[in-house]
Structure formats: structure tokens, C-alpha cells
Symmetry: C2
Subunit: 351 residues, 2 copies
Amino acid sequence: MLALAGYPLGLRFLFVDPNDDSPAGEIAPLLATDYSAPEALDALARCDVVTYEFENVPVEAVRALEARVTVYPSVRALGVSQDRLLEKQCFRELGIPTAPFFDVGSLAELEAAVEATGFPAVLKTRRLGYDGKGQRVLKSSADVGPAFDELGGVPLLLEGFIAFERELSLLALRSATGETAFYPLAENHHEGGILRLSLSPAPNVDAELDATARRYGRALLDELGYVGVLALELFEARGVLYANELAPRVHNSGHHSIEGSRTSQFENHLRAVLGLPLGSTEPIGYSAMLNCIGSMPDEKTVLAMPDAHLHDYGKVPRAGRKLGHVTLRAPDRRTLAERLAALRPKIWDIG
Amino acid sequence: MLALAGYPLGLRFLFVDPNDDSPAGEIAPLLATDYSAPEALDALARCDVVTYEFENVPVEAVRALEARVTVYPSVRALGVSQDRLLEKQCFRELGIPTAPFFDVGSLAELEAAVEATGFPAVLKTRRLGYDGKGQRVLKSSADVGPAFDELGGVPLLLEGFIAFERELSLLALRSATGETAFYPLAENHHEGGILRLSLSPAPNVDAELDATARRYGRALLDELGYVGVLALELFEARGVLYANELAPRVHNSGHHSIEGSRTSQFENHLRAVLGLPLGSTEPIGYSAMLNCIGSMPDEKTVLAMPDAHLHDYGKVPRAGRKLGHVTLRAPDRRTLAERLAALRPKIWDIG
């Protein structure tokens, strides 16, 4: 999607992906090798600018590249996003509310942390978690030992549970020139830890909530010396926003922006890392983005829906894999709700 | 632009172009060989469906392919569009007004035709003309002999002159399933025979004018057994629409549809030739498409304009060559006019 957004700007791409069946290879040159492989670093160093859209690329590879070529977002942003403890500490230092959290290096530390949070609480690995992986919910003291045994051996974090009403996400962006912009908040719905549905602009967002989210986004852009699109996942509970995590990249909850915004997050990420003026983030009507997980819906059924837009990533189907998405657009919320009600069963009954 | 519209639908492409620097080669497999070369025909015959976006591909090559693979639009549409006499006769048979026209095979026939049309009149080659090439305006009897000498030796056509107020174009489309749709009329402005600016939806189009244009478009779709996007160029003179020519392909006056329509002409052409449901042709606000001819404008200047969208085709610059376009979008005509006034000098002063 980055390449598709960049071609009209006259850009050319080189992708590096350890998987040799990466869909990027169908539409752009692909070097199918490890991110840290010398030939990958050499090839990337010959580009004008390097970026990434996966938060688990090795910090060392990005640091090595930064010495040779312009790389955005910064290695600091990448490092913070890869470590849930650093991430939560960063939020705390910036005055952004979070769930209570505790560094857990031993069963004794976990037991002490649970004393503080009470149940339920969530035990998470500090590193390499996404889409709900590397997490255990602790409902009672009986869960503590087994969860530590399952996840232990690596640094952990215990988080208190927030009885949140919904998840929102903010896409903040800054160009290398310093210009900043924010997309309207999106409301996200997960199932089994995987994003299923995103509504943008999120309903029931008043000016204060919006301003608070933007203030948090701006604080993070500043703190991290950030260039590009930054996604901030937030929980809303009784009018308070709690930061859950950040992603230093274009984000699934911003995929609606291809049709649902004046400028897509992909084009704006490219504009940002190239130091070009940012495009308008104003919405075009109301959008719903539905992920296609495990299998793709019938193409004709989707395309027959008014203002439905299919995005088939060309990936090999596999259970739980995001294979594509559909964006529905409508002139008002009511029409969007009607179209969504009609489309949902066509996409998810077969998933 | 077809490939960029098709990738999200999960499509893969093979392009054939005699020029080995075709920009399509940057983003898709390109066979740089003659349209009629056996290896080109063999490779195309292995595709699921074949289409073209250049009206001067050889009819023989398309006919040979039709025997081996699904090809849209039909060879009949291609043949008619390549011959200005057949084209005008087709319009006449369908009751679509045209300028008076006469088949010209000799100087004597030309002189007789000029008697009927009077001056000014336009002498055109029957075949291989586009962007104003292969045409001579006859202003007086002194121009007749020299124009015949310059263009003669090939079959010609003399057309009476219509003092038209403006040029409009209609994009009509039909899916292989029979479903039809029409984009709103666009208003086109040329300079030196080359399209410079297209406004969509065209201003000052009443329901009757619109219905008349659609009736003509539908008659052509039916007559030509058409599948895909068909562009019909029309002159408006005192409320009457005269057909000028048709193009059996996606059309420059429809480029605005990438941002300015619910579904772009490129995606809809692909949906049509694949027998998929057509997407909405409803406009998104008001759009102006400006061609970049001979040179590209400064990228930062364009991208700093609100809701301006740059399309750099990645072509080698050459005088008179269409290198890209910019689409401006606005919520109302007045804002569009203001933005257009600001952008025009940035694009065309340097052209």
C-alpha cells in the first residue's frame, strides 16, 4: 500500500522482507533476506530514504543504517515501541495516563505486582508481542504461577486491568520539515486480539477528547523526534484516555484513509519521510474498515455494495492471517451503519 | 494507472508496449515488443482477459487475440475508432448529430466537399490521428490545394466547422455482465490540440443535456457491443451536442476520477472487462484535472495546495509530452475556482 501510494508521486521502491512470498514482491523489487543481512543493508543504504512498516525490525539493523542513509522513524521510536516497559515509561513521563504497570523479572516480583493491581491483571512479555500474542490474563491467584511458567524466561510486565468502554486510535504524523497533522480518532473493535473493524471518524468524540488525544500524540512526536505516521492506541474509560501502545508505522486502523480521507496515511507517511508538505487528513464522509482474516470474501458480493472498496493483499490464506480489507464509505453515519450491517455477514461468516 | 487500480483487487498484469521505457515497466511485467509480435500475442493469450488503452493498436493483432482469449473492448469498437469516416457514419446511423462530413479520396472530391461545407472546414486523415495530429484547417480556397498536398496520399475526410461553445466528454461504461454506468459530463479545455484542463462535473449541465449525452453513450455501447470504458467527445453549440470522436479506452478527461469519483475510471474499466459489478460513478465534490505537458511542476508547490493530488507518470520529459497530471478537489465550485487560479500558473508557466 505504501508503493501504490508512492508511484503517483514518481517514487520507486526497494522492499526487504525475510519472506520470499511477500506481496510487495508482486509490485516492486523485493530483496527476500533478513533485515540485518549485509546485502540488504547495502542495498537500502543506496536509497534516498529508508522507512519500515513493521515494528519488529531489529534495532541494530536500523541503527547501522542510520549511519549511512536517512532513516525515518527514528531508531529511538522503534526501540521504545519494541519494549512494553520503555513504552509505558515513556507515556508516564509525558503525563499520558496508562494502566498501572510493573516490571516483572521473577515470580516473587510478579506476586508483589499482583498485590498492587489486584485481579484481573495482564501479564505480558516486554518484547515481540502483537495481535494479542505474548499475553496472559490473570483472573485469580491460581493463574499467577502457570502464566509465569508459560511466559517466563524473558522480561515481563504486569499491567492492571482497565475496564475500558472502547479502544480508539490516533494517527499522528510529522514531516521531516516539522509540519504535523492528525487524522480524526478511529474506533477499533477486536476479536481474539485481532483488529476486525475500525470506524472513522470515531463516533461520540467531543472536542475535549479529541484535543486530549492530539496533545498526547504531539507529545510523543516531540519526545521521540518522530518523522512519519505514528499510531497511538488508546482506551477510553469514563471519559479518560489511557495509552495502551504505540506503533511506529502506518497502522491497520488507518487503512480506511485510502478512500476515507483526503490523503491516505500511506501517501502522508511517504510525504513525511521525504520532507514534502503533508496532505489534508480531513475525512471524506464516514468510513468503516473491515479486516479479512483467514479467507477473502466473495469479490462480486463486496464490489456490488455501494461505495465498498476491496483491498486484496495477494497473500496465501492461513488461519488468523490478515489477507485484505474492505473499506465502506457513506455520506452519513446512518447509511454507513446500514451498509455495514449488510456487509458484515458476507465478510465474517466465512472467516 | 490501470495496474495501480487493479492491484488492490488482487489482479496481476502483463503489459505489452513497443517502447522499452514505458512507465508501466516500473511497476509491472513489461514485454517491450510490437503489439503484433508472436511472443506478445502468445503471452497475452495466456492471460485471463486482455484489454488496451491505446486506440492505435493494430486491429489485426486484436482480432487474432480474440480467437484465443477474451478481449475487451471489441475489435469492432477499435476499428470504428481508428477510422474517422466509419466513426462519423456510426454516429450518423445512431442519430447522433455530427458536423457535416465528406469522404475525400481526391482533390476533386475535396473541392466538391468544400462547396458543401463552406469555410472554415477541417481536412483530416481518416486514420492515425490524435491530439490534433493529421489535421489542417481550411480558411479559404487558397488553403485547399496545399492542405491536400500535405495530407494527401492517404484517405481523408472533410468536416464542416462547428462554432461550438465548449467541448464536453462522456465516459460510458458497461460490464461484461451488461451492467452500464456513466460518469458525469466533464468540460475539457485544449491548447494546441492537447487537453490541458478538465472540469468534472462540467458546470452548467441541465438534466436534458445530461440525458441526451447518456442516450448517445448508451446507443454507442449497444451498437459496438462494448465492454469497458468508452469516451465520447462532444461539442456543445447553442444547446445541441455534436459527437466529435470516440475513444475505446480509459480517457484523459476521466483521470480526475481517481480522487474525484467514488470509483475511478481505471478500476471501473477493470471491473467491466472482468464482469464484476461496477462501482459508483458519483462525484466526490468538484474536481479539476490539469495535464503536465513537457515538464513536471515543482512537487512541493503542488503538494502544498489543499486537496491537490500529483500523478507523475515517470516518463522522460519531451516537448508536448503528457508527463503527468494534477487533480484538484474542492467541496464547491467557488473553492475549486480559487484553488485552480492559484495552481494554474505553477503548472503551466513552466510548461
